[in-house]
């Protein structure tokens, strides 16, 4: 089976995964109970009962659940994610397009930092295992793993923003700068394309703290997995063979050891993507970063179920894709695995 047909088949199966996610989330969101219109309208609901009546009918809230589900799915298939009561009934898709790229920015940097930091420290830790360097790295990552992201976020805020004024907080970039024209809809990418380096530099400064506070909580898992699998591998028979060939210890370590240990990092990477992308919700709220996290929160509170469903779908799509990418990477790093 070749790679293209494998990817197509996995994408096809992914559709069913998404359908499952939509269905379950739909049922859960609608079993919150009560008429959500009261939550949507807030105080206006009691003074204008005819408005409640109007919205209830407009959004088919009195119909049986399966009828509502039918309306939602047909809308979804036409690319209509519904209208967001939390945002004054503008299309949910518009809210997503405006906020999700920022979430992507944080998540991207968090993933890069945690994997790079994890691999580098894992390698150093395994190369000098049981030495003082190894011990300090272990202390460092254990502190990271044991602290919740919001705690790390607060510490970083206090240190870097409050005491040293090194890095800004709030917003995705300096508010005095104009957001670049949307080309890819990802502001950082757009700023590079358009040559707006001032905006790019500013948005890097704004993204460091949120993504770092996410990454510090997860990179330790990479260190731990890489270190232990590296130590196992360095005791393996094929490493002994490599040494018997007369190879330098560094060649043995990197070419024969690390190459094999990276298989476990690839396995881990799809989990890390999942943790970090969902972790953005909390971190964005702490740093007032204009990503999707704030919307997820309000949507949950005011029972904005088109919003709840849409954001869940987006997370699900990312998880499906990251698993697919991990599976493809597997084949690259481990020749014993064939697609199929």
């Amino acid at each position: 089976m070749n790679t293209a047909s494998f990817i197509l088949r996995r994408l096809f199966l992914g559709i069913f995964v998404l359908l499952g996610v939509v269905t379950i989330t739909f049922i859960l969101a609608h079993s919150l109970g009560g008429n959500p219109v009261y939550a949507w309208l807030g105080r206006t609901a009691s003074s204008h009962p005819q408005l409640v009546q109007l919205y209830t009918e407009k959004y088919h809230l009195n119909d049986p659940l399966y009828i509502q589900y039918y309306y939602y799915i047909t809308g979804l298939l036409q690319g209509n994610l519904g209208y967001s009561p939390a945002k004054g009934f503008i299309p949910v898709s518009q809210v997503i397009v405006e906020t999700f790229p920022y979430t992507l920015q944080i998540a991207f940097f968090a993933i890069v930092i945690s994997i790079v930091l994890g691999v580098v420290l894992g390698v150093v830790s395994a190369r000098f295992h049981h030495g003082p360097i190894d011990k300090s790295i272990r202390a460092f990552y254990l502190a990271g793993i044991s602290s919740p992201a919001f705690f790390i976020a607060l510490i970083l805020l206090i240190v870097f923003t409050y005491f040293f004024h090194l890095l800004p907080t709030g917003n995705a970039a300096d508010p005095s700068l104009l957001t670049p024209k949307p080309i890819t809809y990802i502001p950082m990418l757009d700023s590079i394309i358009e040559g707006d380096y001032a905006y790019f530099a500013s948005s890097i400064q704004h993204v460091i703290l949120p993504s770092l506070s996410l990454a510090l909580g997860t990179f330790g898992v990479v260190v731990r997995v890489l270190r232990s699998s590296m130590l196992d591998i360095m005791r393996s028979n094929y490493v002994r063979t490599a040494r018997a060939k007369g190879l330098k210890e560094n060649t043995v370590f990197f070419k024969h050891g690390l190459r094999n240990a990276m298989i476990s990092v690839v396995t881990l990477s799809s989990f890390i993507v999942t943790w970090l992308i969902t972790g953005t919700i909390f971190v964005e709220n702490i740093f007032s970063y204009p990503g999707m996290g704030e919307y997820v929160f309000t949507a949950l509170i005011v029972q904005d179920y088109p919003g709840i469903l849409a954001t869940t779908i987006i997370f699900a799509v990312i998880i499906v894709i990251s698993n697919l990418v991990a599976d493809i990477l597997y084949v690259v790093v481990d020749p014993q695995i064939r697609l199929g």
């Binding site: 094929y238 063979t241 024969h256 481990d334």
Partner: protein
């Protein structure tokens, strides 16, 4: 580094001492595994010498120190926990135990190579067989060109014979797109040398795509590609089935003269030793108890332990029930021991056996044994 070499030279290399075709001489070697609670003496004052182009088998049961001996010769013993208590391992009159790891490494592969018991796990799963062999060749070529090898010390120069005059002396490289034509041709040649018929296919296979016997052949090919003077084979056929075992053993026997190497075959199986070895060394609990020409040993084993081992070989006669295991068990090596370690199991044990430990003496011409029955001390 220089000083390190010089010391080893002054210690060991008076050419008159070493015999003409002597390759390896181990003298008084004791190795212990240290732990918090006890030190386990794995090798107890071993004396051994290996000539060129010989196939010598070391036979003994599990835990007798065979593998410790093999790993100490190639320098892959994990230290700690292992520790060389005393003794020397001299390779071409260079004391290997006095060398630092950096110099020790330069003997691995191209001078002393090793193949292992588990062909299934001894090859790196993520690289193609051809690339792994090419890497071994690259090490060899690199050393041939490495000036630091012969620059600093006259010893290295003497040791470092140029093994492959047929190869142009330039460094083969790993390229992204695969092996260079030159390197690929040599890999193919080595694969054919170990009687792999479809070398053209095998070269591009991953280890997991090959059978156990094929993998062991690849391991042998990889070791021989470096043209070592001594090949240590630690239980090379134990994981293979009987027909494959016979093929691999025959191959090793044939290759001795073909590639000009000596083989130290470590095995627990006397039958294997009898099929291929010129000389057999019997080990028991960290001691060499008998060292003899293979024919002499099988015709007339001297040490009671060797006799016991021989009677354990099934002979395919009608009385199948008559296999005779040796009663008793190996003494605890973590405690200081007085006397012969085999005495408690020995049917011929005498008074002296529990008081002193026997020395390895030449009881017959070229037949050494460590037993008071032959030392003349018992009476």
């Amino acid at each position: 580094m220089e000083k390190e070499f010089d010391r080893s030279v002054s210690l060991t290399s008076s050419p008159s001492q070493s015999k003409e075709n002597e390759l390896l001489r181990i003298s008084n070697l004791s190795i212990a595994y240290e732990s918090k609670h006890a030190n386990l003496l794995a090798l107890d004052n071993i004396d051994l010498e290996i000539g060129q182009n010989r196939l010598i088998a070391v036979v003994g049961e599990s835990g007798c120190g065979k593998s410790t001996l093999a790993l100490s010769i190639i320098g892959l013993l994990a230290m700690p926990p292992a520790k060389i208590m005393n003794g020397k391992i001299e390779y071409k009159s260079i004391n290997l135990t006095a060398l630092k790891e950096k110099d020790r490494r330069k003997f691995r592969g191209t001078e002393i190579a090793m193949i292992f018991q588990e062909p299934l796990t001894s090859l790196n799963p993520v690289y193609k067989v051809g690339d792994q062999i090419a890497e071994a060749i690259a090490v060899r070529e690199e050393r041939k060109n490495d000036r630091s090898m012969d620059l600093e010390s006259e010893v290295m120069q003497r040791t470092y014979k140029v093994n492959a005059p047929d190869m142009p002396s330039r460094l083969p490289r790993f390229k992204r797109g695969g092996l260079t034509k030159l390197l690929r041709d040599e890999v193919l040649q080595v694969l054919k040398q170990v009687r792999i018929a479809d070398a053209e296919q095998v070269i591009d296979r991953y280890p997991f795509e090959l059978s156990g016997g094929m993998r062991q052949r690849v391991m042998i090919a990889m070791a021989l590609a470096q043209k070592p003077a001594l090949l240590i084979a630690d239980e090379p056929t134990t994981a293979l089935d009987v027909t494959t075992q016979a093929q691999v053993l025959r191959l090793m026997k044939e290759l001795i003269d073909e590639v000009n190497t000596s083989i130290l075959l470590i095995t627990h199986d006397l039958a294997v030793a009898s099929q291929v070895a010129d000389r057999v060394i019997v080990m028991y609990a960290g001691d060499i108890v008998e060292d003899s020409d293979v024919y002499d040993l099988f015709r007339e084993p001297l040490h009671p332990y060797s006799k016991g081992l021989l009677s354990c070989i099934p002979v395919g006669s009608k009385d199948k029930a008559k296999l005779k295991p040796i009663p008793g068990s190996v003494p605890d090596l973590s405690k200081p021991f007085v006397g012969c370690k085999y005495a408690s199991r020995c049917p011929f044990a005498m008074e002296i056996c529990s008081k002193r430990s026997p020395r390895l003496v030449e009881a017959r011409p070229n037949h050494r044994v460590a037993c008071f029955l032959y030392s003349g001390e018992s009476r």
